[in-house]
Each structure stands twice: as C-alpha cells, then as structure tokens.
C-alpha cells in the first residue's frame, strides 16, 4: 500500500511540474520532424500538441490510478454539519504556474532546465500540499480548502461545485497524503 502511495505521489508531482518541460521544448522550437522522413513536412504545431498531450494523458492515468488509494470519508451525521468552511483554491496555483512558465521561457540551456526542474520537482514533492496540476481543471476537477468542524483544514480535489458547507459531506474520498484528498463523488 505504501509503495503504491509513494509511486502515485511521485507520479502526481511529475504531472504537476511536467508542463515546464513542454514550455521549454516549445520555446527552443525542438520538434520531432527529423525523427522520421514522413514527419519532415509536418507543421511544428503537431510536435507542440504532442508534447502537451503527454502530460494530459499522464494526468488522466493518474486519475484512474487514484481509485487504488486508501479510502476516507467526511460524513455528516444526524443532520449536524461536518464542514465548517469551503474555500475555492483554483486560483491559488496561478502565481506558481506563471513562475514556472517564466522560468521555462528564460532558461538558456538544457542542463540549466534539468537542474531547475529537479529542484522544482523536489520541492513540489516535499511540500505535500502542492499537487496543483492545472490539467486537473481540464478533466473537470476543482481545488478546495475544506475546514472540518474539528477545525482541521485539508485540501480536496473534487469534480463537484462546492460552495455551501451546510449539509456538505465527502463520503468517497481517497487519501493522497495526510493533507490532500481526492473526491470520487460527481
């Protein structure tokens, strides 16, 4: 169980940071046209879209994998609310993502990029709460900070549009780590 969880977290971290590689490849105009003769006359756009498709597919795969994680739940019982506060966090990733993109656009050499990417990967992995992957938005997920009645704040990735904490519950959660949970209810 622990191994699955560790691999999953590494995988999520990679998905969350891999866009920086895509941006760099596009900036450097590195294309796949020279790989095969039939690619030669292909537009550069095809390469760029292919690069973008890889993190998207990996993200989709990570969502499938998340079904294997440990279960959890936050349930309202006897009509007593269990959630005190819900706060949308979709916009919280924007500053860090803009930061990533500017870094990718201004990195001059490939080895500098690898170094920067490793550092970013490490910090994203260790910070635990930062699994902000904007590609989740593509699959209809939103990010929320949820505060329970017991005054503990957790980070929830959910497909639902959450606004009103009254009567809200999460009967089908999956634990990514002790602070981050993914909601399987639609």
């Amino acid at each position: 169980m622990n191994i699955i969880n560790l691999l999953f977290r590494l995988f999520l971290t990679f998905n969350a940071t891999s866009l920086i590689l895509v941006v760099y490849l596009v900036k450097e105009k590195i294309v796949i046209n020279s790989w095969l003769s039939c690619f030669l006359n292909m537009s550069y756009w095809c390469s760029y879209l292919l690069y973008l498709a890889i993190p998207v597919l990996l993200t989709f795969f990570s969502l499938l994998l998340s079904n294997k994680l440990a279960d959890d739940s936050i349930e309202a019982e006897r009509n007593q609310p269990v959630i005190k506060e819900v706060e949308q966090a979709n916009n919280a990733y924007l500053p860090s993502y803009l930061g990533y993109f500017f870094v990718a656009l201004s990195v001059p050499h490939c080895d500098t990029l690898i170094f920067v990417f490793i550092i970013l990967f490490l910090f994203t992995f260790l910070s635990q709460t930062l699994y902000f992957n904007p590609l989740f938005l593509v699959f209809g997920y939103h990010f929320y900070y949820v505060t329970t009645e017991t005054n503990i704040k957790i980070f929830v990735i959910s497909k639902r549009n959450l606004k009103n904490p009254k009567g809200l519950g999460f009967p089908n959660l999956k634990r990514i780590n002790d602070f981050t949970f993914i909601d399987k209810n639609k």
């Binding site: 269990v82 329970t148 009645e149 017991t150 634990r175």
Partner: protein, 272 residues
C-alpha cells in the same frame, strides 16, 4: 464509512488512521443486556457490563467527545505499528476498542491459504472476535466484559474496581506473609484499604513463589519501619498505615529516582 484507528503509546501518543471502508468488528447483538458494573457479578455469555452517561465520567476519552472525521487523522507509518497501545474501530456511531497485547503482534513466517500460497514474514496484528469495550454514542453507554482489559484505555476507570468484601479482607489478612498484632483485624480495615486489597489480591495471583519472595524483599527495602520476621517470613501489621505500606509494596508503587537516588512513592500508576 467504517474506519480503524490506532492509538500509539508514549508522551507523543496520538490517534492514527489504519484502515477505512472495512467492517472491523461485528457489533454483538446482545448489548441490550447491560448490567451495572459489579466485580462480584459473573456475566452470562450474552451479558455485558454497561456504564451509562459515560461522557460525564471523568475517565471518558476526549476522543469520544469530538466529532469523528477520519481525514483529521494521519496515516499510521510503518514504524508506528510497533508502538500501538490500542485499536479503535469507528463503525457508524459505535466505537469498538481493543487493547493490543504484545501477543497479538505476531512476527512469524506464515502463508495464507490460497491456490498459490506464498511465504510471508511481515509482522501481523490480530484482531479479536469481540472488542474489549464498545461505546455506543447514541446511548452514551460504554459496554465491556472485563474491567482489567480496559483500565489502560480509560485511565481512572479502575475506580469501579470493587472493595474487598469482609471475607476477602479476612482471607487476605490470613495470608502467611501477614502477621496481625495489636488487635488489628479485618473489622478495622477501612474503605480505602479494602479497595487496595481487592487489587492486591488480583496482583498476587499473578505472582509465583519466587516473585513473591522478590516482592517481599522489595517491600523491606523501601519500608524499613515495617517489621519483618525473618524466620516466619511475615510482616507485622498493627494499623491501617502498615497495611497500606504493604499493599503499595505489592503493587510495586515504590521507586528510586535515577538521578538523585531519591526513594519515592507513586500515588497513582499508569503503564507506559
């Protein structure tokens, strides 16, 4: 959803999540046969001792008073499993407690019965068929069968422990290691010492001859003023105070500080 938590030992002991979405214990269907605790009463197979209005008791856990939200608890790390004090299963409003004894922590090689068995040697933890205690939140009642099994879970619950009856007090004072002098007798033993006698009796039952000898020399070491007859191997008890010293000794409440070598008496004890 059902959840299993583990409470770890020690100063930093806390509750951790172990498993979710599995029914851990089958809730017995005979809980309605609750009987007020009485140490002399022998339970029938379908009966449970019950403590009603449990949340108002001082030995109730804070854990039972707060809302149960499984995401509040961190996942128990692999290293933490060696340090479990007891397990609590939360099953829709019912809390099942199981004290974890070292014997339930198994480090042996085993294989599961299957078509393709494979030898495994990861340690496993055994879950009892029947929990040691069950707290039903709607009824605010704690059910249990054996008080000694849960005294380390609910600190202070041993106050329910009985006082020794007149016969038990007499029986205790008739032990070979007790020599009554100055007209001291079972009739003069007061309530506090009767409680201690009830506990000491249970403690003594677990000692063999050699351990008893060790205890007696331990008592002599700490209670120099308690008279001991070398030949008859008995303590002279002339008043309540002497008896108290002897009973504290049997419970091994005396200790010496590591730094400073000061001899002390613990006025309450909790296993760590």
């Amino acid at each position: 959803m059902n959840h299993l938590l583990a409470k770890t030992k020690g100063r930093n002991g806390d509750f951790f999540k172990v498993i979710s979405n599995r029914q851990i214990f089958d809730i017995p269907d005979d809980l309605n046969n609750g009987i007020e605790y009485n140490s002399d009463y022998k339970l029938e197979d379908d009966e449970w001792f019950a403590i009603t209005e449990f949340s108002e008791k001082e030995y109730c856990l804070d854990f039972l008073m707060t809302r149960f939200v499984s995401t509040d608890y961190n996942q128990l790390s692999r290293a933490g499993y060696h340090n479990i004090d007891y397990l609590v299963a939360y099953q829709s409003g019912v809390y099942c407690f199981q004290k974890l004894h070292p014997s339930q922590f198994i480090r042996k090689r085993y294989f599961s019965i299957s078509d393709q068995p494979d030898l495994e040697n990861t340690p496993i933890i055994i879950i009892n068929q029947i929990p040691d205690a069950i707290y039903v939140r709607e009824e605010d009642t704690l059910y249990f069968r054996k008080l000694p099994a849960i005294t380390t879970i609910f600190k202070g619950i041993y106050e329910l422990y009985k006082e020794a009856t007149q016969e038990e007090t007499e029986a205790f004072l008739e032990n070979n290691f007790v020599n009554l002098i100055d007209d001291f007798s079972a009739d003069t033993v007061k309530k506090a010492n009767r409680k201690r006698i009830a506990m000491a009796q249970a403690t003594l039952q677990n000692f063999n001859r050699r351990e008893k000898k060790q205890i007696f020399s331990y008592i002599r070491e700490y209670c120099a003023d308690l008279e001991f007859d070398e030949d008859a191997e008995n303590f002279s008890i002339s008043n309540e105070e002497d008896l108290k010293k002897l009973l504290y000794g049997i419970e091994q409440r005396y200790y010496t500080t590591k730094v400073g070598n000061e001899k002390r008496l613990a006025n309450s004890v909790i296993p760590v």
